[in-house]
Symmetry: C2
Subunit: 314 residues, 2 copies
Amino acid sequence: MKAVTIREGGVLELAEHPDPQPGAGEVLVRVRAAGLNGADMLQRKGGYPAPPGAPADIPGLELAGEVVATGPGAIRFSEGDRVMGIVGGGGHAELAAVHERQLMPVPEGLDWPQAGGLPEVFTTAHDAIFTQGALRPGERLLVHGAAGGVGTAAVQLGAATGARVTATVRNPDARAAVEELGAGAAIDPDGFAEHGPFDVVLELVGAPNLPDDLKALATAGRIVVIGVGAGFKAEVNLLALMGKRGTLRASTLRARPLEEKALTARAVEREVLPAVAAGRLRVPVAETFALADATAAYDRFTAGGKLGKIVLLP
Amino acid sequence: MKAVTIREGGVLELAEHPDPQPGAGEVLVRVRAAGLNGADMLQRKGGYPAPPGAPADIPGLELAGEVVATGPGAIRFSEGDRVMGIVGGGGHAELAAVHERQLMPVPEGLDWPQAGGLPEVFTTAHDAIFTQGALRPGERLLVHGAAGGVGTAAVQLGAATGARVTATVRNPDARAAVEELGAGAAIDPDGFAEHGPFDVVLELVGAPNLPDDLKALATAGRIVVIGVGAGFKAEVNLLALMGKRGTLRASTLRARPLEEKALTARAVEREVLPAVAAGRLRVPVAETFALADATAAYDRFTAGGKLGKIVLLP
């Protein structure tokens, strides 16, 4: 099979690899679509090695495709089933062997580009605002960096749950689109604290926001950090955090063991996919690229300013 | 009635006040014992005003005594019942009007000094390590400042639950006593991180510990901050917190509304008092003072180095 392959110096090449073989509990998926994510960019730069068990040189954290073979003991899916899911790596390839418990069925009517761009952002956003942040109907949710993949998913999930969503979006041209996804207000990040208080803050930008996140936090509020692109050394006023009885959590999906990743997939199946199937949640896709054009796709991702996902179509 | 009264410049005086009247849902308690706590010291210095509804000039956050009258609609206790509980203030007095849902029965066999020193430390420690920190049997608990009131309660509660408890104790002479309370090891605070990893860290000292708390945190670990005497401006490495999928929570009991305080009292009744009644948990009392000797008691508290509670006996 062919796969996007990371070479010396971050050069990407479409190279031939042995076909992966589905092991116990795994299925072999012919990849039809595979989204790009921030961690792929880090891995390309050499700063984020693949976790154990994932191919060391093939990036790609999510995929959608058809089951073409099943390994010993794999019983959840049959050949021809449309599946999607998060993987530890190796998604940007023609074939991938994935444990069946990490996979979800693709809802009928969802096209390949959306399916390939759904797992990472919706699982990440759902886990962050509900499992980590315990967001409840009627609460006030602040989403930082809301025009990105996880941001657009979080805005939609928050709004669909009856939370009041405020979104920070640096690019003024993207704010209307984020409001259309369900944000009550899409605002400039500068001075966002004046729009509080917020019960849950989804921090996708980084440490520079933390002092104001804390200022804008409601009593018993939760700050959930899952992105620190703008910096990771945060100053936290513990007395203020005590006064608000606040929680600061930080998390990442990629390092979790199989059983915890499987739990997130079950949660998305139960709480997200029905609304996707009903057309109430959508995956904004900014642009699609052929697997051979991976370099252009990665550069497009890095350039930023897009609304929604960049997706490879093998 | 007579009560400890805070005058200009932090001078304490035993002064005459009108007897409090039990309002709706309240009972009038003749105070037999009332522990001292850090917040009393802050209030004496003028830096921590009493919450709304509490007497502005009478300190005292906990008490034990006998019910001498009941207000309209109060049904949980009768005259003569032995009760104890946390109050917003006004505990260092001969009489106090307390909402019945904040009160707990005093277990048979528990003497007045221990009863007067139990509510604040055991409620605080229980709330911090179980409700906030979600400590589970078999987990590793680190208690900072373990020779203090909350610390000794946390060590006992952790050990009684089957957690493996490590305690930091600055004073070498106090370490053996803390180990007798159930700590597997009572250690010097310097270099504590080498004794990790820990699933739950109870931070009673403050911000200077935070970088090492984070270093010593286990995957999915929780740092619970409820004391910041040594400083409150903390540096938090968000990337490290993400990698550990860690949680930093901070809390305080005093500012909570009645219904939340009542919930903590119900939790202590259910999960702590049976073990107190059975003699498996105890309240170390360092020294008792008459109400008229409050200044000496407060100075004794501030001097530190004690193991266990300082308790006033009106």
